[in-house]
Symmetry: C2
Subunit: 273 residues, 2 copies
């Protein structure tokens, strides 16, 4: 398949959301109470033009804020904040020196990018729980964007400050290690004959079984994130899905990293599409 970088990123969001079963996350057969599967599709469609700007080498922060805004034109609230924070630099890297050059893209971000990042919060409701990384502005504050400028922090430095408590920020400062590793897993499964949807669902489950989800930890506490790992290892998929939905637990960071992994696999032609 030959799609450009922005098209591949949009498709990555659609493929992640459209694969099932993914216990605790949105899928075609199961809407969230406040957000439908089709609103996730609309979010992916709405983010595309800002991702095209990222591919055209416009500033990461502004592209990210525009992508978040574009993805939120449906009635279902924030759908793609974390995934777009990963995909925006990945798209820019892929469109220039290739996806493997993403480190240089994130390390080159500026204070302007950090300011735009905090402004993106004001465009949508992002639930980050009560965990506030030390030394960073409170993302919920109306003047967070001004504060990050006063302190002279770049977006990369903001991500450094959040890396311990946020899987997406951790990817930024660790070479997108999980996204690339999970892309390898996806490619291996597809090469071994798995249909795309099964490969994506299988890697999702393996992520739940091995890595506590930072979104779950921020909202519900570390012990709940650890419980999810344990449940994913001990329950069958249907029971796991019931438990997560009943307790309103959404492993959202896992879905974000999985979207990035789908993108990397798509750019390498390895998703069987």
């Amino acid at each position: 398949m030959v799609l450009d970088a922005a098209e591949s990123a949009e498709l990555a969001l659609l493929v992640e959301a459209g694969s099932m079963p993914k216990p605790g996350n949105v899928e075609p057969s199961r809407d969230f109470p406040d957000t439908s599967y089709h609103q996730f599709q609309a979010g992916a469609v709405g983010a595309r033009s800002a991702l095209e700007d990222a591919a055209a080498d416009e500033a990461i922060g502004r592209c990210f804020r525009r992508a978040v805004k574009g993805a939120s034109r449906h009635e279902g609230g924030n759908t793609h904040f974390g995934a777009l924070l990963l995909l925006t630099p990945l798209v820019q890297a892929e469109a220039s020196d290739g996806v493997d050059s993403v480190d240089a893209v994130v390390e080159d971000t500026t204070v302007d990018d950090a300011e735009e990042f905090y402004r993106a919060f004001q465009a949508v409701e992002v639930n980050l729980g009560d965990v506030e990384p030390d030394g960073l502005p409170d993302a919920g504050d109306d003047d967070a964007a001004e504060k990050v400028r006063e302190r002279g922090l770049t977006l990369y430095q903001v991500m450094e400050g959040s890396a311990d408590v946020d899987d997406v920020a951790s990817e930024w400062v660790n070479g997108f290690e999980r996204a690339f590793r999970r892309a390898d897993d996806l490619q291996r499964l597809v090469e071994d004959g798995s249909p795309t949807s099964e490969a994506v669902a299988s890697v999702y489950l393996e992520m739940l079984r091995t890595e506590p989800d930072s979104h779950v930890a921020r909202i519900h506490g570390d012990h709940v994130a650890d419980d999810v790992v344990s449940m994913a290892n001990n329950l069958d998929v249907a029971a796991l899905d019931r438990r997560l939905r009943y307790d309103d637990i959404n492993p959202g960071a896992t879905a974000d990293v999985l979207s990035a992994a789908c993108f990397v696999a798509l750019t390498r032609g390895g998703l069987g599409i």
Copy 2:
């Protein structure tokens, strides 16, 4: 929701494919033998830039051929030929005087547009069965594009010639009557509280129950198309799906018209997204 015309058309394709159950057509839980759900997603993503050209008032035929080509960059063959033949003029109408002005758009098509239409056949494999409308070039012939130019037929006239045997062509010459009527049905269901996916699946089933599918008729004969109507009225959804898949019967024209109906409903804000 506020999306532009090309974004809405892409989302219409995604919403149609992503809703279920749709017996006999692709859906997220069921791939076709040669084409996966994710390849349908890739087709929608790949068609978008040509639909943007249609919104920018470029010639219908060229936009259609480019959309078909863009939608076929995955490994799953032709996914969206019929739907794009409906959406290209609908997008152009919506971007200028509104979707209701689509009649003027199709009536204004030229011999150039007809030539591009036949060239689109050469870009993808479209199965039209053995039914060949009188007076039109054989779409399978390599020189069909030259023949339509010799005969001086516009694309609208080509559609007039196929309207009796093709639901998509029939829409072109009958004011997109079914697309608008089914858009009304979709809007009514959503206003009455149906989730988007249920509304789309419900209208799909109602179409199968009331209108023989021309794609089925062209491939398998009129009696099989009539049988499908009868089966849709007498079997439950699971049994209908099994029967259609077992006999390799795909009500593809119904899905095409439903995609157009989703587009019309989206432009009116009436799909609950």
